[in-house]
């Protein structure tokens, strides 16, 4: 069986799984949702069939597992979003259409040689900074939950940071490919443009209070620098700098200090000052209530979960128990309904995507492709770690989307562009080999 037929077979399996998911939500929540829910699975399957045809035309030799896995993740995400709020699922469905259009466009535009992107590396770098600055602009930007991440144009909202991530990876891949030998020697002047662009990105992130993304960009930067130069010293130095910076930020930015306190001590026995309403309350009822409620949701799932559609997310009055459930906290919703068995399987899918991504990097035969592949893959892995690790209290919690699963248009679009990038690299490496 050739690669594309294998992909098709896998997609059929994913389509069946998604249909099963929607069917079980429908059974569990007949009183709230309509039979129309079942058409979602059909619509969804048709979309992926289209994506598959595009892949057949543009990247015939690419890895056959990435697209079905991405399909599975979006399928699970869409099912859960539908279960939580059917009208959000409709909007998410539209965004998936947009994302697949971007996916197709990327493949068509770059199918002959994506490596010409390398010559536009500075343009990508500057665009990334530009995109990151957008939310900080007074008219366009809005602040959600202490972080300025959103851009509003009319009723449309967009999180430009997600796309900036992909652009920054393209810039870093191009720049590091060109300068890797000299950088390895450690001459300070070669680091100039690198530090400039990266420093700019970090400044913007601190300005917008988006800690999760700051950590993400920094991790991507260090990972790519390490692969390009093979110097562990840079990683150590970079980590040291980051910790020093984090320490300084901890002392000067209240928002950051709060996040750390919440992470270390989410529960208190005594009442502490609550800055949300000015009362004295235990911390679990105030600053850390999101984290704590989300942990209760994870714990309630236990081994096998409550089953799709059977979870408890609302109070007896019908109010929301956990805020941002379908964006930042979708993992705790899934953990409750699918249980350990379900979410461990979900995480294994993430792990497989990561493993395939690194395999593509290994097989690619030029530096730019390799760096681009590891940048995109590591970004995917680290982003998953930052949000799920935050929910599970491994690291301080910062709001960021779970790739492919969370509700959020910009995130889905950016991740499909990322996926297209990996397919292009894989196609080229396999075609040359075959």
């Amino acid at each position: 069986m050739n690669a594309r037929n294998r992909e098709l077979a896998n997609l059929v399996a994913v389509g069946a799984l998604t249909a099963l998911g929607f069917a079980s939500v429908y059974i569990a929540r007949q009183e709230v949702v309509s039979t129309a829910s079942l058409s979602y699975a059909g619509f969804f399957f048709a979309l992926y069939l289209a994506a598959h045809l595009v892949a057949r035309l543009t990247v015939p030799d690419a890895d056959p597992y990435l697209l079905p896995m991405a399909g599975l993740l979006t399928g699970i995400g869409l099912t859960e979003i539908y279960r939580l709020n059917p009208s959000d699922a409709f909007r998410q469905g539209l965004w998936i259409v947009v994302a697949l259009a971007a996916f197709a466009a990327t493949l068509f535009l770059l199918q002959h040689d994506y490596r010409r992107l390398e010559s536009y590396k500075y343009l990508f770098g500057l665009s990334a900074i530009g995109l990151l600055v957008l939310p900080a602009l007074p008219v366009l930007g809005t602040s959600v939950n202490g972080a300025r991440l959103w851009v509003h144009v009319g009723s449309l909202q967009f999180q430009p940071g997600e796309l900036a991530k992909v652009f920054l990876i393209v810039f870093l891949a191009g720049y590091l490919r060109e300068k890797r030998e000299v950088l390895a020697q450690g001459r300070l002047k070669d680091f100039g443009p690198l530090l400039l662009i990266w420093g700019g990105a970090m400044l913007v992130l601190v300005e917008t209070n988006d800690l999760g993304s700051a950590l993400l960009y920094f991790g991507i930067f260090l990972a790519m620098l390490y692969v390009a130069t093979a110097r562990v010293l840079y990683v150590a130095l970079g980590t040291g700098l980051f910790l020093a910076g984090a320490f300084a930020v901890y002392h000067f930015v209240g928002h950051v200090r709060d996040r750390i306190t919440i992470w270390l001590h989410p529960w208190t026995d005594h009442a502490v000052y609550c800055s949300l309403n000015g009362k004295m309350l235990p911390r679990q009822d105030c600053a850390s209530y999101q984290l704590v409620k989300s942990l209760y949701s994870v714990a309630h799932g236990s081994w096998f979960g409550t089953g799709l559609g059977k979870g408890t997310f609302r109070t007896t009055d019908g109010g929301q128990l956990i805020p941002y459930l379908n964006t930042d906290f979708i993992y705790s919703a899934l953990a409750q309904e699918l249980g350990l068995v379900g979410v461990a399987a979900l995480l294994l899918v993430y792990m497989l995507v990561v493993a395939r991504g690194f395999k593509i990097a290994m097989l690619a035969d030029d530096g730019f492709s390799k760096l681009l592949a590891i940048g995109l893959t590591f970004a995917f892995a680290l982003q998953t770690f930052i949000i799920v690790g935050g929910i599970l209290r491994l690291i301080p919690l910062t709001g960021i989307t779970l790739p492919f699963v969370s509700y959020g248009g910009s995130s889905v679009v950016a991740n499909f562009v990322l996926l297209a990038g990996l397919l292009l690299i894989s196609n080229r490496a396999n075609a040359e080999r075959g």
Binding site: Y296, A299, S302, G357
Partner: protein, 496 residues
Amino acid sequence: MNRQIAKLALVGVALVAALIVATTYWQTWATAGLNDRQDNEIQRVAQFSIKRGLIRAADGTVLASNRIKKAGGQKLYFRRYPQGGLFSHVVGYSTQSRSRSGLESSLNDYLTGSNQNLDTVLKTTLQRIRGATIKGNNVWLTLKPGAQRVAMQQLAGKCGSVVALDPRTGKVLVMASRPTFDPNLVEKDFARINNISAACRPAAPLLNRATDGLFVPGSIFKVVTSAAALDSGKYTIDSRFLDRGYCIEYGKKVLNFGDQGGPEVFGSVNFLQALQHSINAVFCEIGNAIGAGRVLGTSKQFGFYDDPPLETPGNERSPSGLYNRGKLFYPGDPSTQVDSGRLAFGQERMLTTPLQMAMVAAAVANKGVIMEPHVVDRITAPGGAVVKRVRPSKDRRAMRRATANDLVQMMEAVVTGGTGTAAQIPGVRVAGKTGTAETGGPGTPNTTWFISFAPAGAARVAIAVVLQNQRGSGGTTAAPIALAVMQAILAGRSNP
């Protein structure tokens, strides 16, 4: 570059692996701890999606049922208590805002189908897999609604409690406590419960006085002293005493109490007459002769110093015994730390619960053996199969059989011609003992008691009645209530 990529790949895979490990921790190890946390609202709400089992009285009367409410596409089951305040202390309540009390709390596992019986586990697992509503097990109590209603009516307007047991089995037939509260109001309008006023302070309507109310026993404790004296072998029912109307305690005269049916000074009496007329001076002498240590030892045989056994939550039951500064106190050296004369007639620092005193009456009625009190008769699955049946079991032997026989005679004399004549039932042999305990100086209101059982010799009911803030004596205030409740129980079909 591939060597570095391989190393980075390890890091990437390790990051996701760490997430799997952390998820496992929260969903297995940490689950129990998180589920028990007070602020775990998910757990609280999830409990309400279970169709809780019903609680019924012995004759099937529904004491706790469900009211369905739909919210956010979910069916929720909230409690409704059709009998209002009639059974509220035993049954308790199950609410969102104030959690649970009574049997609703202690039997929560059965009522929500989360008890670990193989049968229940299988059924709830099947219901969970099928996505059906989980149904809890039903609880059947031993309480008799007719008699319970009589008891609550008799207590109306007063502060007090009635406990009636079947001495042969330990079944709790009546458990009443006043003031009471309507459990339906706990969720909706708790302020109204807070504002309940009564003939005592604090009104404490939520307190189950039957098992958690501690009262000075006064003369009903003489039954325990008598058991100690007879068991010691130093006294018999015919032992003779000379009542001078007082006894000397620490060089001071302690006068007989005024609730006796006859003259204040009786002169030459035997043991039976001493109990019949509740003569303090005689018991004071007995107490001093056998010592506080022996009296307390016998009280322990009756179950004092232990939480009385019952299915209600442990924090709603208190042990009887000596209390020092609000704490249960067992003296290391009773002869110097306890006034044995005053202890013998139920003063000192002795405090008892109505349930414990009903157990004392039941011990005498049942030849010296206390059957373990229980208010749950059986627990049945939604289909009707019995999940658990409570069988009568011996709790303890409180005294020798011969002692019990003597005490039956002595207590019968109390009702036929002593302080408890108000409890006579035509054609039925009733045995009892009155108590009138001073709670302050002279002129202050008394705590009055009556413990009794009937028919003497083959008792089907043993009862304890206590009233707070009374002007009269146990014989005039508490005995008529005991009479009414015993008649209600004996009039019903004799239960096996």
